[in-house]
């Protein structure tokens, strides 16, 4: 009852154009606890970006009240989900809970969906009607899909031709289809256009499916139809595919006419200038944009992503709202979990510094993306980024991909580092 009155009041104030931040500090709402001293941070999304921000705000300043909104009780990572398709890891390995964030760091985790943001009243509305007030808001909702870019494709068709680009039931569905594919059948991937989550991800995926087929379906074939002319770590993937899988993987780009424009579900056929291709299992990874709440909150620009300050990740549209991870425009940084976590740390530093009226440290962001070409064959790409003229840019001379023609021992070392990376980053974010 009290909550309802409060909400009505906030709305009335917003309608009257009164910024209610002063009022909000004194008013009563569900996240207004005794320790709230003008330092209430609400975070939307408990993935790589949001969970990192939650933990690191508490690490830098335990007196800040942090509330994280995440509908899922457990989070399954996309990193490692390709390894799962190869049968190298199981669902448990990829699944993380929020217990440490709650009990050790005192993050208030609400398993709800955020449905609205009022950047003037500084409130977030949840699925259950609850309204949270914030002094700073962080939005890290990841991606959403553009379903209508390919004729015949839709959200419903994604249940038949899974994208598995958000880990969970879709990943398990794709694994099942791969396992049940007839001997000697064809797996077809429709790769996404730029920009999308995890640039090397589609190519690690076909590598891992090849790893599975090599053991269980050695006469199967894999085809990738790509609307791009080239892709991340292309030379290294190409070298690995030839060395490990011979002719099993075929890739065609937009220069070959391989931009898919139409899909027919009944005949399992995809259409492009390249050819009409039918397949037994079809994995369509659609074009992408920022997660839905970023649009609802008015944080996106014409590109469908969120422009942010390149040091603090504060939105260029709404003050005191920050966007990290896949949803933000971070210059040359790729959309990866590693990037999201790096950005989350800089964002946490910015928020703690500003809430405590302390100087903000200089920032530096990094990305490290390992890909497994085979179980014991790893390659990587690295980038170190700084804000140059308002855009995160790779520092010249730093970064780059693994050496071409490296020894199998080096490839094995990188594969072991990939697994070690997974343990470290998930521990850093969710379990320490």
């Amino acid at each position: 009852m009290q909550k309802l009155q409060r909400r009505t009041l906030v709305k009335a104030l917003a309608a009257a154009g009164i910024a209610s931040s002063t009022f909000g500090l004194q008013a009563c709402s569900s996240n207004d606890k005794s320790q709230a001293n003008g330092k209430r941070v609400v975070i939307i999304g408990g993935g790589f970006g949001g969970s990192t921000v939650a933990k690191y705000i508490k690490r830098f300043d335990s007196s800040t009240q942090v509330t994280m909104i995440e509908p899922k009780k457990t989070y399954m990572t996309c990193p490692g989900s390709n390894w799962y398709l190869a049968g190298l890891v199981d669902v448990d390995y990829l699944t993380h809970d929020y217990e440490t964030l709650k009990t050790k760091h005192g993050v208030n985790v609400l398993h709800q969906m955020a449905t609205g943001v009022d950047a003037v009243a500084k409130t977030v509305t949840l699925d259950n009607g609850e309204v949270l007030e914030y002094d700073r808001l962080v939005v890290s909702p990841g991606i959403d899909f553009i379903y209508d870019a390919i004729e015949g494709y839709s959200e419903e068709v994604a249940e038949i031709f899974p994208h598995a680009w958000k880990a969970g039931p879709q990943t398990e569905l794709l694994a099942k289809q791969i396992q049940e594919m007839p001997q000697g059948g064809r797996f077809l991937m429709v790769a996404p256009p730029n920009p999308y989550r995890c640039s090397p991800g589609p190519y690690e995926r076909v590598s891992m499916i090849a790893e599975y087929f090599k053991k269980h379906n050695p006469t199967a074939t894999i085809m990738v139809l790509d609307p791009k002319t080239k892709f991340s770590k292309q030379a290294l993937f190409g070298e690995g595919w030839r060395d490990v899988y011979g002719q099993m993987i075929e890739w065609y780009g937009s220069q070959d006419g391989a931009t898919v424009t139409k899909i027919d579900v009944a005949s399992k056929t995809v259409y492009s200038d390249f050819d009409e291709v039918s397949a037994d299992v079809i994995n369509v990874i659609p074009a992408q944009k920022a997660g839905k709440i970023a649009f609802t909150a008015g944080l996106t620009d014409d590109s469908g992503w969120c422009p942010v300050d390149q040091d603090t990740f504060e939105s260029k549209i709404h003050k005191d709202v920050f966007v990290v991870g896949d949803a933000c425009i971070a210059g040359a940084m790729p959309k990866s979990g590693h990037s999201a976590s790096s950005q989350g740390k800089m964002c946490a530093a910015a928020i703690v510094s500003s809430l405590n009226n302390l100087p903000m440290p200089p920032t530096r962001n990094v990305n490290t993306c390992y890909s497994l070409v085979a179980e014991d064959y790893g390659i990587s790409v690295v980038g170190v980024y700084e804000n140059k003229d308002g855009r995160l840019s790779g520092i010249p001379g730093a970064g780059g991909v693994s050496k071409a023609g490296a020894s199998l021992q080096e490839r094995k070392m990188e594969a072991d580092y990939a697994r070690s990376w997974y343990q470290s980053i998930t521990k850093d974010i969710w379990h320490s």
């Binding site: 976590s341 405590n356 440290p361 690295v382 001379g397 470290s424 980053i425």
Partner: protein
């Protein structure tokens, strides 16, 4: 390099704005985040939280003697010490920045 601001200095910094904060006590505990700390937190993604507990093959960093760490970082940069990816990382930092990182990592307990 930037040093952590001692608690009393932080409160002096805040003096002009005290009225905004209900209590000085909580503000006093929070110190400015140094460049070394800000940069070093991004090492944890591979080398484990607080430079501890990695997944096995990547070495932990916590408690590494400062001079030894700095030497390794510089050797990665010059190529004297071979690596798979560390050379690609350290080239993104000046020697002064690597010093700040090594200073900070040396404060972490193994």
């Amino acid at each position: 390099m930037l040093k952590r601001i001692p608690a009393f200095a932080a409160s002096v910094l805040l003096a002009g704005n005290l009225s905004l904060l209900p209590s000085l006590a909580s503000a006093e505990q929070v110190q400015a985040i140094s460049m070394g700390e800000a940069f070093a937190t991004t090492c944890f993604q591979c080398h484990g939280p607080e430079g501890q507990h990695t997944g096995g093959t990547i070495p932990p960093l916590a408690g590494y003697p400062r001079d030894l760490m700095l030497q390794q970082l510089k050797d990665f940069k010059s190529g004297k010490r071979p690596s798979t990816i560390m050379d690609r990382h350290v080239k993104g930092y000046s020697d002064a920045e690597l010093e700040a990182i090594a200073d900070y990592l040396a404060t972490l307990k193994p």
